[in-house]
Amino acid sequence: MKKLLALLLVAVMLFSFAACGGSDDTGSTGSAAADDFKIGIICLHDENSTYDNNFIQAIYAAQKELGLKDDQVLVKVNIGENEACYNAAAELVDEGCNIVFADSFGHETYMIKAAKEFKDVQFCHATGTKAQVENLPNYHNAFASIYEGRFLAGIAAGMKLNQMISEGKITADQAKIGYVGAFNYAEVVSGLTSFYLGVRYICPSVTMKVQYTNSWFDIAKEKEAALNLINSGCVLISQHADSEGAPKACEEKGVPNVAYNISTISMGPNTAIISSKIDWTPYFKMIIENYKAGKAIPTDYCGTIETGSVALTELNDKVAAPGTAEKIEEIKAKLISKEIKVFDTKTFKVGGNELTTYSADVVDMGDFKPETEAIENGAFTESSKRSAPYFDIKYIDGISE
């Protein structure tokens, strides 16, 4: 009898699914009046990831500034880089979203799939590379010139190293720093190189060792990598990975740390110096305002220091060297005026030589072949030909794995 019941329940389920298949209710996707505007945000993880939390806080900030109601901003968390992303996007469209935004690199192909299907909805994607090639009117990439933020964070690290040298804690030759990277990928390589160049701008004798975790979010691995680097003699750590693993390892060992995405002062009150971050609030405001005004959203948008997209978090005066804040302001002004270029080819060498030409894979045709000359006017033109970073030189002299 129990089996009969089981079969009956199966039959009920099959019946209900046949019944549902017959209905033809389709979600309306017409252009919305200002009041029923909605934006949907797709996040790879939830607020426990510093990376995703940065997006979540930014959309809430934009919501506040633009006076949107709570039900106009829908945030979907823990959406994997697979069909779940397409389904989340489609569900957000069903719920009436006019703009759908996804925050992770691996979401891109699923967002494109959704963009091709839902032509009345704008799809925006952070860190992606394909908008230029896909050439869809409703699919857009965005990033920021975060290498400038990394450079500024590097200034703070350099000041700290100089302080340690002048206090006699280390010699100039011992100015070795460590970097915990997620993947051996252009976005990470560009970030670690610009950070290193910032440090070296202040402390010329510095060298850097990189260790990858091969994961964007892995607390244990990030902590382990940071400890490895510290044990191999690194006196300052920075990272490009999304958990609190490295900052906490640094706090345990009393090693200064420069972080990314969020302020880590609460995790490491005695070691956190500063963090560079992309502030997505200006981008969110821009796309919402553009949509409401009927203006196009840029196909490939790159925020800068001037747009407020590249920012630094609060400086921890307890740890930072004296004069750091002033120095950062000074260099920031010079970056804006272009007096300093982060990837000025006169400031670094590759294999002992100055870089005069470099072909980068800017146009993402899926073939991984470089095609675009990236050196112009004596500098590597990072993020100007495409918002997502393409500086993938492994490595400039002074950096090793």
Partner: protein, 381 residues
């Protein structure tokens, strides 16, 4: 009927006796009571932790699974995938072969399908926009090739620990568990080879020609997945219940010595059963690539290889009941996502709720199998 009396000798307040077979509807009633009790506990927790109205939360969970036609199809698709892997682990578990390697078997199955798609991937014709692509193989050739490759991969991954167990008596739990990690690293390795820019993201394979993608069925993109798993469910039910091989699995599971005594070749049964198990995991991997994600990643199985064990066990290895238990698990997961979005709750809240409900469901089995007797005067028998 019986009244409480003072016993002459000290008798415990409660004692527990094994029940005889219970009338089926009583079992249903006990389970229903368990679910209601679980919901009451969950409600109390929701009010305490979040100050939300629990009815709103429950209705949002139902909305999250059934709210739109799309949500309903996604629900069915998710049930189909979890059910498929649950079916795969069932024959092995019934035989008391603790196959903890379904995750890895699914992964290598997915990897094999993705490899077929990758090595016969669409070719770009020229460099001018808009780009035009052509598929080197027709789907009539490519899709069967993927299916066979996935099943073969799943079989290899399952049969290695089976052979070691059958011949040398190695511990299959540890062996299959370790094979998961090998499978994960294998996937990570191939993605590194296929995607040389270091991002470790494969992305949709063949997005332009849809080569190697299962076509729509009845206008539904998940139609084939649901149909195939539906057929597998029926087939597995018949196989376990009515076939000689299914009987042999039960006997080996009950007692290997009995099996040997009545002339069953235990080694052969172990290996043969794991071939079945691995093949179905391979099919699950194929469906995850060809019918669902069109890509492969380390987490494509998403822990379903382990959840499936719970699903199968809750259903007492009855494929028909597994439809219901996998529905329950998927419903909770989908509901979890919905309440996270609507109420801004962390998804852990719904994990807690899922845990409570499953605790009650498993707990009520105790009351189905055993009877709790209060201190009473026994009838003389």
């Amino acid at each position: 009927m019986s009244s409480k009396r003072l016993a002459q000798h000290s008798e415990p307040l409660l004692h527990i006796t094994k029940r005889d077979a219970m009338v089926w509807y009583k079992g249903v009633i006990i389970r229903a009571i368990a679910i209601v009790a679980a919901l009451i506990v969950c409600s109390a927790l929701i009010v305490l932790l979040t100050k939300l109205n629990p009815l709103d939360v429950y209705s949002e969970m139902i909305e999250g699974s059934f709210g739109t036609e799309r949500k309903f199809w996604i629900l069915l698709q998710n049930i189909a995938m979890l059910l498929c892997i649950s079916l795969a682990v069932t024959p092995a578990f019934k035989m008391k072969f603790w196959n903890l390697g379904a995750e890895g078997q699914v992964l290598v199955g997915a990897l094999a399908s993705a490899a077929c798609m990758f090595y016969f991937k669409e070719v770009r014709m020229g460099d001018t926009l808009p780009l035009v692509y052509e598929a080197p193989l027709s789907n009539a050739v490519l899709i069967p090739m993927m299916l066979v490759a996935s099943m073969a991969a799943g079989i290899i991954w399952a049969v290695i620990p089976a052979i070691f167990k059958a011949i040398w008596g190695t511990n299959e739990s540890l062996f299959t568990l370790m094979m998961n990690y090998v499978a994960m690293q294998l996937v990570a390795f191939f993605i590194m080879v296929w995607v040389p820019n270091g991002s470790s993201v494969m992305g949709i394979i063949n997005p332009n020609t849809e080569s190697g993608w299962l076509p729509e069925l009845f206008g539904q993109k998940y139609g084939f997945n649901i149909l195939i798993v539906g057929l597998l469910t029926v087939a597995m039910y018949i196989y376990l219940k009515y076939s000689k091989q299914g009987y042999e699995i039960s006997v080996v599971g009950e007692s290997e010595n009995t099996a040997r005594y009545i002339g069953i070749n235990v080694k052969k049964v172990i290996i043969r059963t794991l071939i079945v198990s691995g093949a179905i995991c391979g099919i699950a991997g194929f469906l995850l690539v060809s019918g669902t994600n069109y890509t492969v990643s380390k987490d494509i199985a998403g822990g379903m290889g382990f959840t499936a064990i719970m699903v199968a066990w809750l259903a007492k290895f009855n494929p028909g009941m597994m439809v219901i238990t996998s529905f329950l698990v998927v419903f909770m997961q989908r509901g979890a996502g919905a309440i996270a979005t609507t109420f801004g709750l962390n998804q852990s809240v719904s994990d807690i709720l899922t845990g409570i409900i499953i605790f009650f469901i498993i707990g009520c089995e105790f009351f189905i199998n055993y009877k709790v007797n209060l201190r009473t005067k026994h009838k003389e028998g």
